[in-house]
Symmetry: C2
Subunit: 549 residues, 2 copies
């Protein structure tokens, strides 16, 4: 027996087509997806249609968490491919965000996540394999000069007492000039370039020429001493010498040129190290169109780009040892840790320089706000950096970060109260917003600090403080956690209690984060309530619901 | 184009049949009903299938509430047909519950609701029509005696100074005897019987013979001075004189006999009034099988039963004025008010004599517990009775009922706190349960009392107390209301916060109650937040959902 077409309505709403057979009436999946936020696809057998409550996979962490080890699931992160990341700054080597402002800024949570991502991958990879590495430019004949009537390129090779084999370069500084360059290894796995150089003035620059595997597009990535009008990466405009007008021609003649705003870690005339992931820099560059949209985000993977050459312009010296590698985890991690240690404010925080507004501007944080999530993540980076580099500057920064946990949101801190229960605010609005995930991450940061081994008595009293802040947070968590449970999903925050609005439901990928973090903390606490709650929340993702009365 | 049969799965679960056409995949309604608690039916056109989120209709109250008028939607109630109502006691004329104990007991919330139901209908009907009423037994020849060899029936007619025309009856007291009786009016609308009598001892009884319209079954309803082993109604066992064994034969010979446990409002030898709704008494009797189930609940409507006769046995006098009416609203209301005034304990409450356990006995109230909903409803009955009967006993009782609102649940009162916010508990467990609907009803009770006109100074100070308790409750409501919002429905209570369990979701008929009560209080308070929240909650019943982050 077959089915017959039928007319249906849902909730006195618009009619829709249904099918009816002798047993049942059948409603369209398009209605289910819209009405219940469900996801559907044809299964691997090619015919079974599979309907899911949650599009996000429910993951749980390893039972054994090492506060100096991998940071949860962060090894799977790719901060640098997020559309809201304008670039990895060539000035600081940390991400710059355009999430809440078109002008790129340093967002401390993003920076810390970048650091934790790379640290975690470093920890995992140190167990699995040794990175490939190629060294170039050791022989003088690898160093090429431009052959053209508009420029001269001088290359003086000598031995430096400190650096060994060095090339002193003098070339025209215009980006139109090729300068002195070295051909790079063609292996598409080796997308990280690292070298030591000594630029003599701000006219010095370097460029990596890369080639897209897919369409042979040549992409020039220039690193220039320039503020770039506040941009971290921008497209260079082609200039023709006999044109009065500047004409922007993307992909003209199979070539496109972008510049990154660069600043060295040392004064001019001093040696410093450069490390750049060109795969990332190309992707960010290609994603940085003037009127860019989310859809314009370019995500590149190892294999998508081949490095062609590395060129230098202006007055400078380079060590004859150009490294080409697969990864730069340690460098990225240290960059994040250094940014945090060097950019902490007097309150012990890392202020966000842009305004954040929530709930149709009912809750507004003016530029300069702090976040418990930034404090927590920052601590997690710094504790690891302290142990990894054995450098007390990181520990001191981590300890100083505790201060804001004791400072009320209304006083510029991150501490709030929900009916007498202390909460550490990701967004410390007044009235409070009580975001769950940021609070949980902040607890993990406090835990990481609380687990450092005994140090001196001054440090130990601060570590005791971290323990107390952590315990206070755990108490609050146990009191307030049920308020985030809708019986079929979770709520992202508790803004609605003060605002009297509808709850801000967590979409499934945030629900997955809630589950993961709850399991993480349940493991730390060996707590049955937290674990059972997480299990129930996992069930919601598979269609289970709480009972009604 | 048609559809083809397809295989589907939901949430990696059991496969089910679907249908597929060129536009969509179609899932069975049976899955939707189960997964999302939805309701479906074929529409009035006979072909359109209508799917609903809520089976319960969303109603809202009149904008203008009179604290001495109709009590919200209670005119639509039918307490007496609820399966959990064993009977309307023939001793007290108020309902007896078997909800949490098979032995019927007085449940104060039920009694108050019964009173408010009848008061509300009385108020409405007083505007619409005059009740039909028939008076019987005025003539001596209406009074019949049994014609049988096993009994004598004496009927002495005389004029009583106080009562007028009276019949003194002397008849065998066995229920097998017909006694002295009057034929009743055959109109099926006239199912309420009322008369004045003076029984001389506990062997006196009366019986109404009724006939089921549908199957001509004769139902004898006996009202006997008997405890009935704690039952309020039971089936009489037929006794055959030449049988040693008692054989229970329901519907033998087209007749069945039930007895109600009766106690007069006056001592033996004094006049008192009897009023019984025979339609209700027959329904409750027929529903009272020994191993009865919810399915055995018999609901009768006017027209289902015809009264045949009213008979008397034993030594007694009856006024020759048997009333037969359509309704007994005033009597039922007064019965409830009197029960409340006469059964209030020293704490000012109406204790529930049975245990109440919640959440798999994690929360237990031993027998003797009080309820804010009982206090609130009780006050709503008593304030109306005070004004209607102009009797201060009702006012004094209402004022005394305030005491428990100031007494903590842990001390046997109904006051609880949820993170510092005062709550009046329908079930005052420790930790608290925080049921929403009972709290809202209790606020309405406090409101009703707070709106009584100025009285003497002692009364006014108590009324001021009611105002303050009400205002405190309104403050709490505004603080805590968002916690009952799941973004697609509401939660029945907040037990889960203390217990760390899943939320106890409100089924749709309780959601409808939440909406109604919220609108009711929004009108009292002229409060936009409460009204908008109610509107949002109405939307949930029609498939709207809160946004996710
Ligand atoms: Ca977050
Ligand atoms: Ca209730």
């Amino acid at each position: 027996p077959g089915s017959i077409e039928s007319k249906c309505t849902a909730d006195n709403g618009k009619p829709m087509r249904c099918w009816k057979d002798e047993e049942d009436v059948y409603f369209p999946v398009s209605y289910l997806k819209k009405r219940f936020d469900m996801t559907g696809r044809v299964g691997k057998d090619g015919s079974t249609f599979e309907l899911f409550t949650s599009y996000a996979k429910m993951r749980t962490p390893d039972a054994n968490y090492d506060p100096l080890g991998v940071f949860g699931h962060f090894s799977t992160y790719s901060v640098e491919t997020r559309d809201r990341v304008r670039c990895i700054s060539a000035k600081t080597n940390v991400p710059m965000s355009t999430q809440w402002d078109p002008v790129p800024y340093y967002y401390p949570i993003q920076i810390a996540q970048y650091g934790l991502q790379h640290y975690s991958r470093m920890k995992l990879e140190s167990l699995n394999k040794t990175d490939s590495e190629v060294i170039l430019g050791v022989k003088s004949n690898e160093w090429k000069g431009a052959a053209g009537m508009h420029e001269t390129t001088e290359r003086l090779f000598f031995n430096d007492e400190e650096k060994g084999k060095v090339v002193n370069i003098s070339a025209g500084y215009s980006l139109a000039n090729a300068g002195a360059y070295v051909y790079l290894d063609k292996s598409t796995d080796l997308h990280v370039v690292s070298f030591d150089w000594k630029p003599y003035d701000g006219n010095a620059s370097f460029t990596v020429l890369a080639k897209m595997k897919q369409d042979d597009l040549l992409v020039l990535i220039n690193y220039v001493f320039s503020e770039g009008n506040g941009k971290c990466v921008w497209q260079e405009e082609e200039k023709s010498f006999d044109d009065e007008f500047i004409v922007q021609k993307p992909k003209k003649d199979g070539q496109v040129s972008y510049s990154y705003s660069y600043i060295g870690s040392k004064p001019f005339g001093e040696w410093s190290t450069v490390t750049r992931d060109i795969l990332v820099d190309v992707a960010r560059a290609l994603s940085s169109g003037e009127n860019r949209k989310k859809d314009d985000n370019v995500v590149l993977h190892p294999g998508d780009v081949r490095l062609v050459s590395l060129g230098f312009r202006g007055q400078l010296a380079v060590k004859q040892q150009i490294f080409q590698r697969e990864e730069q985890h340690l460098h990225a991690f240290k960059s994040a840790a250094d940014w945090l240690a060097e950019n902490q404010d007097v309150k012990g925080g890392w202020a966000v320089p842009v305004e954040r507004s929530i709930a149709d501007r009912k809750l507004v944080l003016p530029p300069g706000w702090h976040s418990a999530m930034a404090q927590g993540h920052g601590i997690s980076v710094l504790t690891r950096a302290f142990k990894h580099f054995d450098d007390e500057k990181y520990l001191n920064s981590a300890l100083k970060a505790l201060e804001l946990f004791k400072t009320n949101a209304s006083d510029g801190g991150v501490r709030a109260e929900f009916f007498g229960n202390v909460w550490y605010e990701e967004y410390p609005t007044t009235p409070g917003s009580f975001v769950l995930n940021g609070f949980l991450y902040s607890l993990i940061g406090l835990y990481d600090l609380s687990k450092l081994e005994s140090l001196n008595s001054e440090h130990n009293s601060k570590i005791q403080e971290a323990k107390e802040l952590y315990s206070t947070g755990i108490q609050s968590l146990k009191q307030l956690l049920p308020l985030y449970d809708t019986g079929s999903g979770t709520i992202y925050d508790l803004r609605h209690v003060a605002l009297g609005s509808a709850p801000n439901l967590a979409r499934w990928d945030y629900h997955a984060v809630h589950v993961y973090l709850l399991k993480w903390i349940a493991n730390l606490e060996k707590d049955d309530f937290l674990s059972k709650t997480a299990d129930r929340w996992i069930g919601y993702a598979y269609g289970k619901r709480a009972k009604h009365n």
